[in-house]
């Protein structure tokens, strides 16, 4: 064996050793994947999750590599997408309620991969966590503003699908509005879509034609805000992200879904090896639900809204505080009573008394 050959072998061994050392000192980045129901440009639900992913990237820098897949329908497509992501990632955030069954199925097949399912409640294997936010606390704040700001005493509510999440929002907004304005009425229109700008606009126009001068939406596009902007004297609240750009004179505030800190915490936990299956349901207090700047309202209304936010932050108020009856008149909560998280809040499937609409069942 020539000495040159020997040197090269030695060099190579040394190099390998160094590489091995580097690898152990600086672990591989965590590979995180996000699957979205809509386009990231919806400026609503998906946009907010995508902002959260951006925050995660900012916080962890080189420690995380993010894959994002948008507009994945909640059918067999989603299972295929989640499976292909599971082969290459350490953690997968499935960011829509309808991904629940596919998430569970794929999680069972990939026990080493962590799954984080937004707005779900099933965690059959210990590699699944669920997380959601108490958006009804946000609805409590905008309900108070709506009750003060309306001239016609009619709130128009554009609702997507009758799932507990949406029902909670309607009940919470209505109760808060009525607490400051006993004459308040709420008109609810179900559009059975999360994202269809044309239909959302049609619904907003219908509600305005029927006398609503405050528009609330639980759909994801900015269309209702733009309709409010074009009509005189109509105001609206943004959904999921700051929608003030679409309604400079109509926008009162937006409920902002602030997922970023949660995403950063969870991925840090994976990096540090401390991740465990958990259920997170945070609200205003933890900063998961925040608000766009209050505008187009008098100072006293703004002050009241900000005080309400403070009360929520300190845990002094609960949007559902008795006495509250169900729509059929039966007692839900007695004087001063607040409901347990499960089943009352998690599975809410009724309107409260005072809402005139028929419950969609």
């Amino acid at each position: 064996m020539s000495s040159r050959r020997l040197t090269s072998i030695l060099k190579f061994s040394l190099l390998s050793l160094m590489l091995a050392f580097t690898n152990s000192a600086f672990a591989d980045p965590v590979k995180a994947a996000f699957i979205y129901i809509g386009p990231t440009g919806d400026h609503g639900w998906t946009y907010a999750h995508d902002q959260g992913a951006n925050h995660l990237q900012d916080q962890l820098g080189d420690d995380v590599v993010i894959t994002r897949i948008e507009s994945v329908a909640e059918n067999s497509d989603s299972e295929r997408v989640i499976t292909s992501l599971a082969r290459k990632n350490d953690v997968i955030f499935t960011t829509s309620f309808g991904y629940m069954e596919p998430t569970i199925k794929v999680a069972a097949r990939y026990p080493d991969v962590k799954f984080e399912h937004a707005t779900g409640y099933k965690r059959p294997t210990d590699n699944i966590s669920t997380y959601s936010a108490r958006f009804y606390e946000g609805r409590h704040v905008i309900g108070k503003i709506a009750g003060r700001m309306t001239n016609t005493n009619v709130i128009g509510y554009i609702a997507s699908f009758p799932i507990p999440e949406v029902i909670r929002g309607i009940n919470s907004a209505f109760l808060a509005a009525r607490s400051v304005n006993p004459d308040i009425q709420i008109k609810i229109v179900w559009v059975y879509t999360w994202y269809d700008p044309g239909k959302e606009a049609d619904a907003a126009r219908a509600l305005i034609a029927q006398g609503a001068d405050i528009i609330m939406q639980h759909t994801d596009s900015t269309a209702p805000m733009t309709v409010a902007e074009e009509e005189d004297g109509v105001r609206a609240f943004g959904q999921a992200s700051d929608m003030s750009a679409w309604g400079p004179s109509a926008h009162l505030t937006s409920i902002i879904n602030n997922w970023g800190p949660y995403y950063a915490d969870r991925v840090k936990a994976i990096r540090d090896g401390t991740w465990t299956s958990a259920d997170t349901f945070d609200g205003v207090e933890q900063g998961m639900v925040t608000f766009a700047p209050m505008q187009n309202m008098p100072d006293d209304v703004k002050l009241e809204a900000e005080m309400t936010i403070l009360d929520l932050e300190f845990g002094d108020v609960h949007p559902f505080t008795g006495p509250i009856n169900r729509q059929d008149g039966s007692v839900w909560l007695a004087e001063g009573e607040t409901p347990p998280m499960f089943p009352d809040i998690i599975t809410m499937d009724f309107y409260v008394e005072g809402i005139d609409s028929k419950y969609p069942n």
């Binding site: 008109k187 994202y195 733009t226």
Partner: protein, 309 residues
Amino acid sequence: MNEGLIIAIIIGISIASVPLIFAAIGELLVERSGVLNLGVEGMMIVGALAGFVVEFHTGSSFLAVLAALLAGMAIASIFAFLTQILLTNHVATGLALTLFGLGIAAFVGRSYTEENIELISALHIPVLSDLPIIGPLLFSYNPLVYLAFFMVFLVWWFLFKTKQGLILRAIGDNHDAAHAIGHNVVRYRVLAILFGGAMAGIGGAFLSLVQVPIWGEDMTAGRGWIALALVVFSSWQPFKVILGALIFGGITILQLHAQGFDVRISAQYLSMLPYLATIVILVTLRMRVKNKTNRTMPNCLGRIFHSTS
């Protein structure tokens, strides 16, 4: 119910129907020539984006509509090239066109989701628009609404009152015979496809310029498919396109209002109605046609034309 509400409902119906009228009347002419283009949705979304982008940069509604028309034609020309020159299967090519249109519009339009524009305002004719009731009902729509009805008339006139229309129908019914007596099948079909693209483009632009002043990925949300169903509903008769579109748009808007008024019918059923109505109408139509054996469907619809000469 007051007058203002009724007018709001009627204007709402016009807004929901007109994109369908545009897209369907274009497709009707295409199908009359014997071509089945399932790419309506893709052509609409590209038109919606083109219209929005040009309106955003120039502020000119005229240029915006023109751009939508040209963009629809441009993407339709891909379909024309594939099906008429390369003789690909109409159904597969049309589906590909829809997927392509949705994809490219989402990609190109990425940075425009942040923006919004001024809606094209409704017409205001001095005196006429100010007339009570008649003014708002007849003379206060968006100019594109009048254009949609005019295009339906134009297609009807072309198909049934001109020689070229007769030739186009002949090609749709029997392209071999039409070819044998010396008509240029491919040229007629290519022009028809381009016209279909132009109409779908304007239909799409109506969404982003009149219905909502924003651009959003997938904002056509299946309207291209409804337009295709309307062509079948119309039995390939231009004026029935208007009827079908008004029924669909009408039920869509009325059910939203019914929910607001809280008629005691579950919201699910109400929002199913437009689609349910479409299915019922299609089925009854099919049965009627079977019984009477008067086939209105162009004979050569979707069939590939091989010129043997």
